[in-house]
Symmetry: C2
Subunit: 325 residues, 2 copies
DNA sequence: ACCTTTCGAGATAACGTTATCCCATCATGG
DNA sequence: CCATGATGGGATAACGTTATCTCGAAAGGT
């Protein structure tokens, strides 16, 4: 920058003014400075700029897997771009230690705010960061034990919609195959399912299967649900990956067993019958997250909120299969 | 930091030494400084650190869509983590202007290097950055007109493998349905297909269909390929998304028409018959990209290279369907 | 007892920006 | 013709780090 100033025969401050489009610089000086910048290949250094300014105009997104389908992240990027903020994202790989590493890195880099898909139950490392003024919003899952802004889907209502839909289509014995209940969303959905069964009066033991998403376990769960004296005539799955696994193991039975999946996905309309799903409003989740984050950045004293976004049942065929007689 | 020094009763430099685990500080001073850091909630500022150090220990990844399946990005993150580098990623949304914006932002932030999935044909904006010492590696597609490190899949060989495989299974009339040839990979694959047809001696007009991935166009292409006096008995698709679309429109015909898709995907083993694919070695692409980037960062004078990574034909059933008689 | 070595720690100067303050220069009004 | 703004531009001090240089003190050898 000092070289540019010398080359253009102006003061340092003037170069800064030209770079920042300050209107108080005469046109011919602007020209001279521009020329010098091009000549010398000067490229401004945001590190220094941000250091001086205090803010970085950057949001961090710490998500489970960058390389997976994540419509919420897409909505986050869109909304941030609309607010002239840059989003830089990194994967936490469902690893608590990696989450901590990623988030702390973002804090040390003084990102203006962080969108986090939290993992696990212990987020104690966040306490000093929050005390020091970190703006953070959790999406998809809450940060347990900490008073933090949060955007969640209405998991309970989603399961209830699916259950009621199947009951309405004549099903009586409905199974649920879900993810590991150590995961918040899996826990919420399984609890909601238990509530449905309790309200409806059926047995639970052969109808609820949760645990790691592992092909062998899913096969076993599908087998257990569909066998015995009173086999299930319908299945609800706990997430998109589980829908795929369950379909894989249903095989030819897929035309006889009703199925409703949690989460919409592109293959929902590829299969026969098309997949009925509980779809999350990912656009609303993402843009709400950015709204809340921006509000907190603007005023750190903003009251902490948890927003629950409604889900929608999309009927496509698989959920409308009648019970086998 | 100066507050910490005052609180601990030491000099600024000593605090820095403690933070950076310098061994030349006495144990009791380390304790005092640690206590002061915790007391005052001091959090180091990487912006200043990076400014002073010159390097940021950060790589940027500018990819088409963060929220899409992208096994290469996963491999990039893994390999970078192994090298103790942080990867921060952003989407370019297949938009040339957005790509430029993202890459220039990363440059101004002085990322140590950038992994780029280039879009379009004009990357002139990179020239001054490269001249100023930007380390960059392109993946999946080359940066046309610029001498830049590059990791590509062997698209030509992939198409040839698929074509030969189908010929070996008795097919004579093989159709190709591909993406818009303005996209480099689509162009390469279509060209390779033309070469195959030329070598094999068949007609081309009803067998080659490229253009935007749009449901109506794909339906029309499938119809055109399978109708007429000499209908195709086998189809090769140009990418994973096209495989899905083609399958959608094949419907019940999927058991009669041989199909080989470019790119592996999780739904390849979900369908009946399972999908035979040309699989890219995404792990190799990602780790090679990081290797090349690190080499260039370490020595900017390193010779520019283009690495072509082999592809593999994975037979699963759909590609082994014999021609209808 | 004195000199040398080693080790720990402090003062100071960068890194590349921007903001504050201040001073020219010029046109305008009394 | 001089005072008064207004306007454009320059010197200087931060922002929060780390590296260099220097110095003091303690330990060990002759």
């Amino acid at each position: 920058m000092v070289d540019v100033a010398r080359e253009a025969g102006v003061a340092l401050r003037t170069v800064s003014r030209v770079v920042n489009q300050d209107s108080t610089v005469g046109p011919e000086l602007v020209q001279r400075v521009r020329a010098a910048i091009a000549d010398l290949g000067y490229r401004p250094d945001e590190r220094a700029r941000h250091l001086r300014l205090g803010v970085t105009g950057t949001l961090g997104a710490a998500v489970r897997q960058l390389s997976h389908v994540n419509p919420v992240l897409r909505a986050v990027e869109r909304a941030a771009r609309a607010a002239d903020l840059m989003v830089l994202a990194a994967s936490t790989e469902d690893d608590e230690n990696l989450e901590r590493h990623v988030v702390e890195s973002m804090c040390r880099r003084r990102f203006d705010g962080i969108v986090l898909e939290p993992i696990g139950d212990d987020h104690g490392y966040l306490v000093p960061e929050l005390a020091a003024g970190l703006s953070l919003v959790a999406v998809d899952r809450p940060v347990l034990g900490l008073d933090v802004d949060c955007v969640l889907s209405d998991n309970r209502s989603g399961i209830e919609k699916a259950y009621r839909h199947l009951v309405r289509h004549g099903h009586d014995r409905i199974a649920y195959i879900g993810d590991d209940e150590r995961i918040y969303t899996a826990r919420e959905r399984a609890m909601a399912f238990r509530g449905c069964v309790a309200a409806h009066g059926g047995p639970l033991d052969t109808m609820l299967h949760t645990g790691q998403v592992e092909s062998g376990r899913i096969r076993e769960a599908v087998r257990a649900a569909l066998s015995g004296a009173a086999p299930a005539t319908a299945i609800v799955t706990g997430n998109a990956q589980l829908s795929v696994e369950v379909l894989r193991h249903l095989g030819a039975d897929a035309v006889d067993v009703a199925l409703i999946g949690f989460d919409d996905s592109e293959l929902a309309t590829l299969l026969r019958p098309d997949l009925t799903v509980v779809a999350q409003d990912t656009d609303a989740i993402g843009s709400t997250a950015i709204d809340m984050l921006r509000a907190r950045i603007a005023d750190p004293a903003t009251e902490v909120r948890t927003v629950t976004v409604p889900v929608e049942l999309i009927t496509r065929g698989s959920g409308e299969i009648p019970p086998a007689t």
